[in-house]
């Protein structure tokens, strides 16, 4: 018997093949930053439908909306950062093609993920009180504090429901084959909480290394950058430049030129989008990366 933990390496196709229509899918990263874009592209090209997407949204939401994959969306914003409004998302909202939309406060996401990760049905917070978050989400409940405050008042808080996820998809810089994974960029975002809120977690990475290589570098990587432990991870996918075109510092910065081209196509006519889709999105990940390389070479 091997003395090592299991090897969890999978292909993009195996990850997507293990998912089912109607699932609740949490997508890590933030806006147009460190999104598991290779997995998202494969989701768009799959037969899956009616996904409940939970995301601090970027082009993941835009692409899935344009591909008609979203049955329900829980979001607080969708943005490309340097392009404030995500055009595919805006189009889907304006055309009413996302059947069910839950707009939350962005801090509520953290609370909902914390509740799910702690196996609690909800956690209380102030965010949402007085705002249309409670009006447009009539299912959200409030709860009275069992403890009086200094004035004897029992405050009424929003009871943020747990964001229980069937599956979490996240993208990091390095992982070993067993699912220990490190982020090397400026912010961990909430990828560990997505993993803890989910029944299953798949992590795509720019590079798979052996366990010693996770901290050995070069350059040496501080242990504080190890965000995911293998207990939380069910599958590891090595997919270089898999975060493209979002920011995945230091492996690759956001590809602003490509993002602009994406936004222009999304904002344009059906023909504009079709041309972009056929050129970049119609094939598998290898075809995408080849098309991106060709795009870069002609600039």
């Amino acid at each position: 018997m091997s003395s090592r933990p299991r090897d969890k390496q999978m292909s993009i196709e195996e990850v997507v093949g293990s998912l089912e229509s109607g699932m609740t899918v949490g997508i890590g990263g933030w806006g147009s930053r460190r999104k598991p874009m290779a997995l998202v592209r494969a989701l768009c090209n799959s037969d899956l439908t009616d996904l409940h997407v939970v995301s601090w949204g970027g082009p993941d939401v835009g692409l899935l909306a344009r591909a008609g994959k979203i049955g329900k969306l829980t979001f607080a914003f969708v943005t490309l950062d340097t392009v404030p409004i995500e055009p595919n998302f805006a189009r889907a909202r304006q055309e009413g093609t996302i059947p069910d939309v839950e707009e939350w406060d962005e801090g509520m996401f953290l609370t909902g993920l914390r509740a799910a990760s702690q196996r609690l049905p909800f956690l209380p917070m102030r965010a949402g009180l007085g705002s249309d978050v409670l009006v447009t989400n009539p299912g959200l409940r409030t709860i009275s504090s069992p403890y009086p405050d200094d004035e004897g008042v029992h405050e009424e808080f929003v009871a943020v429901p747990a964001l229980d996820l069937d599956v979490a998809l996240v993208h990091l810089d390095r992982a070993d084959p067993h699912g220990n994974a490190a982020y090397l960029g400026p912010d961990p975002y909430f990828d560990d909480l997505f993993a803890m809120a989910a029944d299953r977690t798949y992590v795509s990475v720019e590079q798979v290394v052996d366990t010693a290589g996770l901290t050995a570098g070069p350059p040496p990587i501080p242990v504080q950058r190890l965000l995911l432990n293998r207990m939380l991870v069910d599958g590891v996918v090595e997919t270089p430049r898999g975060g493209h075109f979002t920011m995945c510092t230091p492996d690759h910065e956001r590809d602003e030129r490509f993002q602009k081209a994406y936004a222009a196509a999304a904002k344009g006519t059906e023909e504009d989008w079709q041309a972009f889709h056929d050129r970049f999105l119609a094939g598998d990940e290898a075809a995408y990366q080849a098309a991106v390389t060709a795009f870069e070479e002609e600039q």
């Binding site: 933030w30 949204g57 979001f75 607080a76 914003f77 969708v78 943005t79 404030p84 409004i85 998302f89 805006a90 909202r93 304006q94 009413g96 939309v101 707009e103 939350w104 406060d105 962005e106 801090g107 509520m108 953290l110 917070m125 102030r126 965010a127 949402g128 009180l129 007085g130 705002s131 249309d132 978050v133 009006v135 447009t136 504090s145 405050d149 004035e151 008042v153 405050e155 009424e156 808080f157 400026p186 912010d187 961990p188 975002y189 909430f190 909480l193």
Partner: protein
């Protein structure tokens, strides 16, 4: 200095909004708020805590478009939400719409179920407004922004907070609304938007016409102060030598930029 620009006035007015905050996280959204907050840090409030807008607390006060060489802390997004709940933060947000009752909208124009125009989404506005001091910056004051009633309440005004109960009012603190024409707070009759001062060169009628709800103009409305010589030097030579502020607040027609 006679060649004070409107953008300079706005920067000083924004800095003034942060002057009394003490040692808290000054969190600007947008270019002029970033300029104003950095100006406050260099003048009226040296204790103010600044970030790079990504994940670092800055030890220095870099010019717009740069990050400081000295870092004094780590503030990833997850910690921002903890600071919001903890309350040691003053955020200045944008606003696509603001109404008489100080409600703000950055979510969508038109009905929420199928918007005429989808915007960003409400982002952190619901949580900001019931947790920490919140101000708004409006670079183009117009009746499309200042409306009778916002389409979606993202940021909560005082009345909506009151109606939602003590948990919503306890830390509710809408501080200032700064625009390219004037400065407001929300302490008018029944906690409505109130005019505090009009920028130099702007007439009261201009503000009234650009506001889509009936705005009371007191007989002796103040004029927003002009930046001091020190502030002008800081704005022009230290913080914004490239004049990025004029992209957001160009000079009104006929005046030198």
């Amino acid at each position: 200095m006679s060649d004070v620009t409107r953008a300079d006035v706005c920067a000083a007015a924004i800095a003034d909004a942060f002057a009394e905050d003490g040692e808290i996280f000054g969190s600007p959204m947008g270019l002029l708020p970033m300029l104003g907050v950095r100006l406050a840090r260099l003048t009226s409030n040296p204790d103010l805590v600044l970030s790079d807008g990504q994940s670092l607390f800055l030890g220095g006060v870099p010019p717009l478009g740069s990050t400081a060489e000295v870092v004094e802390g780590f503030v990833p997004f997850r910690q921002v939400f903890d600071i919001v709940a903890h309350g040691k933060r003053h955020v200045m947000m944008g606003a696509t719409q603001v109404d008489r009752h100080g409600n703000q909208n950055i979510s969508a124009i038109g009905p929420h179920e199928r918007p005429k125009r989808q915007l960003l989404g409400s982002r952190g506005a619901p949580g900001n407004t019931v947790n920490n001091r919140t101000s708004y910056w409006v670079p183009k004051h117009s009746p499309r922004v200042f409306v009778e009633q916002v389409d979606v309440v993202s940021g909560v005004g005082p009345r909506r907070a009151r109606e939602a109960g003590p948990a919503a009012t306890k830390h509710h603190d809408i501080h200032r609304i700064v625009t390219n024409l004037a400065v407001f707070d929300v302490h008018g009759p029944d906690d409505t938007v109130r005019l505090l001062s009009i920028h130099p060169g702007v007439g009261p009628d201009e503000v009234v016409e650009a506001t889509g709800f009936a705005l009371e103009v007191p007989a002796d409305v103040a004029t927003t102060r002009e930046p001091t010589t020190e502030e002008l030097v800081l704005i022009r030579e230290v913080l914004d030598p490239k004049g990025l502020r004029f992209n957001e607040v160009p000079e009104p027609d006929g005046e030198p930029a």
